[in-house]
């Protein structure tokens, strides 16, 4: 077991330069889980799984391809006939191994999935409406913006998603979250804003000519600065005559 672990570590470190992410400094928000870290962790476990299976299969394949080359023109293969037991064994043993891996992965998956779909209490709620081609954002206080999603640092943020025209998809690569914006439906996603900084926000469902131009940024602001911005941008209270 330990040997396997160290092997998988080697395989992983070989793969890391290609598959690792540029590090992001993100602070935990109000005890809510950090989805990015959760995603990256599961991803790395998966990479180990995939590299180990891949290397084993590739080595077996290479071995067979090289070992059993034809050496004389009248040579023929001499595969043994399988007994009844062996023929079932070659079905059910691999099937069992695959299923065991599958169930293990499914369990891991739903653990993370539940975190990704359950919005923590006290999340900052914001409305995002997709249109051809941009994102309209409405804050709880009424402040609005287009293609600029300002959020306070270290806070879970829930984005309620809708669309004015066609299907879009609201994608925040740095936070490892996206969800479709479907006309006539209300969908949502949440993420943990983390440390102050800027992140890409972009459309991930084909929505016509300027699909690739449908992007903006998430601006994570220090708490005080954010409060100030919200106040300054809130619509003036309606005057009653």
């Amino acid at each position: 077991m330990n040997k396997l672990k160290s092997w998988s570590k080697i395989a992983l470190s070989a793969a890391t330069p290609l598959l690792a992410f540029p590090g992001l400094a993100m602070a935990e928000g109000a005890g809510a889980p950090d989805l990015r870290a959760g995603w990256d962790e599961l991803w790395h476990e998966l990479m180990i799984d995939i590299w180990v299976i891949g290397i084993i299969f590739a080595l077996i394949t290479l071995y067979l391809l090289i070992k059993y080359r034809r050496r004389r023109h009248d040579e023929e293969g001499s595969a043994p006939r399988l007994s009844k037991l062996a023929s079932f064994g070659w079905v059910f043993v691999p099937a069992f191994l695959f299923m065991a891996d599958d169930i293990f992965l499914a369990a891991k998956n739903f653990e993370l999935w539940n975190k990704m779909r359950e919005v923590p209490e006290g999340a900052y709620e914001i409305k995002v409406e997709g249109f051809m081609w941009g994102f309209d954002i409405t804050h709880p206080g009424g402040a609005t913006a287009t293609n600029e999603l300002r959020v306070p640092e270290g806070t879970p943020v829930k984005a309620s998603l809708s669309s004015r025209d066609v299907v879009h998809s609201f994608f925040l690569p740095d936070y490892r979250v996206k969800w479709d914006m479907v006309p006539g439906m209300n969908t949502y996603l949440w993420f943990n804003s983390g440390a102050p900084g800027e992140h890409v926000m972009t459309c991930a469902e084909y929505c016509g000519t300027m699909h690739s131009g449908m992007y903006g940024k998430v601006i994570v602001m220090p708490k005080a600065e954010f409060d100030k911005w919200v106040k300054e941008n809130a619509p003036a209270p309606e005057k009653h005559s």
Binding site: I53, G54, R70, A79, P173, D180, T209, S212
Partner: protein, 544 residues
Amino acid sequence: MSTQALLEPSDTAEVAAVKQRFSLKEWIFTTDHKRVAVLYMIGAFAAFFVAGLMAMLMRTELASLGPTVTADPSTYNTWLYFHGAAMILGYQIPALTGFFANYYVPLMIGAKDVAFPRVNALSVWLFWMGIILALLTFVIPDPPDIMWTGYPPYSILTGGNTAFYTFTVLLMGFSSIAGGVNFLTTIIYMRAPGVTWGKMNMFIWCTLAAFIIQIIFVPVLGSAVTMLTFDKYLGTSFFNPAAGGSPLIYENLFWFYSHPAVYVIFLPAIGLIYEIIATFARNRIFNYKKIVYYGVMGVVGLGGIVWAHHLYVAGIPNWMILIHVFMTLIISVPVGLLMIGLLGTLYKGSIHYATPMLYAAGFLFLFLIGGLTGIPNAMSSIYIHLTDTYWMPGHFHYVMAISMTTAIIGGTYYVFPKMTGRMYNETLGRIGFILFFVGVNITFMFTMIMGVKGMPRRYYDYQQFPEIEWMQQIATVGSYIIFLGALVVLISWLHGAFYGRKVGRNPWGSRSLEWTHAPSPPPPGNYGDGVKLPDDWNPYGYGK
């Protein structure tokens, strides 16, 4: 040792083929399954070539930030639409269920033709009409720009001519259903005495399975695009949320067909790889019966209940996601069995590396990568980040586009001497393979990595991701290498067809019926008075 010496030294051309005058009319109105196969082949490779040119244009456009080839994103979107639609509907499905099914099914089961030769002619005509309609994309004023998935409401709101897409789908669909009825009947009723269910070639089993899937699922796609056409041109509201419809109905119907469609491509393709490996390893199929029952039929059984893995973030209910995550992971079982069957067939074989076998070996690695990179996609949580990024085109080019193309190109090299009575040039064949194999790995490995970094798919430009430009450039270089490889392949075929060395009926030393019993090329009617097979005959009866 020279290539020829490792094959059958005694195999020489039998009869000088009777010279026939070329008649276009005879080709168009032909009902001979081998000629129908050639018509399919020409159409499918034409679609591959044009869609391949679109890929080169796209890859060139992506090589630098900002406009490169065109400053108009809708031009790029039309290339991408055509690339996707033509590669799947015009190239891979027709090459496998049209070209190879037509050429091999009657020959492998010892029949003189298909059950309904005129229905067969109708199929290939409908296919050609579909190809022509698709090619009109490049001359009509407002070409479709909806991608091959055609999601509403965009496909309804766009100024592009969506009808050219929906009618192409309908023509190809009718062609497929007619083909399905034809081939299922042929396989069930036209097998020569002695070709029992337990002795059918793997390719026949896989084709049977593929057509069962087509007949069940194509009508669903047909209904989806018909509703789309009604919504756009007749003002109905199936998918219009303002009037109580929903775009999600379309998304579900579309993937209800289009996921099984990948098995329609996958099964005959792996069937071809089985044939190639059995012939070139001169070995019996490993665990034949179990592979057929649990592998081939397992894919048919599970293939229809995994479609929602395309829709995890589309807004479908949680219970549906739960089921589809499990089913999608479980489909690794039959697919894994099919792979184990291939590896087992190599065991104690006698493998000769002619060009078809090189492609089969390439398949083993490319499909391994494609299959393994499918695991993250099945997992809904991981999928949330990966979906609709470059990871997806990276993965599905490996698992479908490229793997199945190795089967199609390898399969064409394999059938080449039978079809033409001549041998292609082995050196050109090898050079083509190496260029292809190197190129695809460069291009699509980097495509996947860009996806993990967040680059969304179907992007004309990527101003928000300037840091990945260098990877785009490497992927583009890879695609030029692929293109070069494809040209070498084409040249080797044309050269072989006209100037290749003449060969006899069985240059590969195969035990399968089409090689042992039919001349190269087989005459109309294939086997004259029919074939008589000894009791111990088996298409994989090697090593006795």
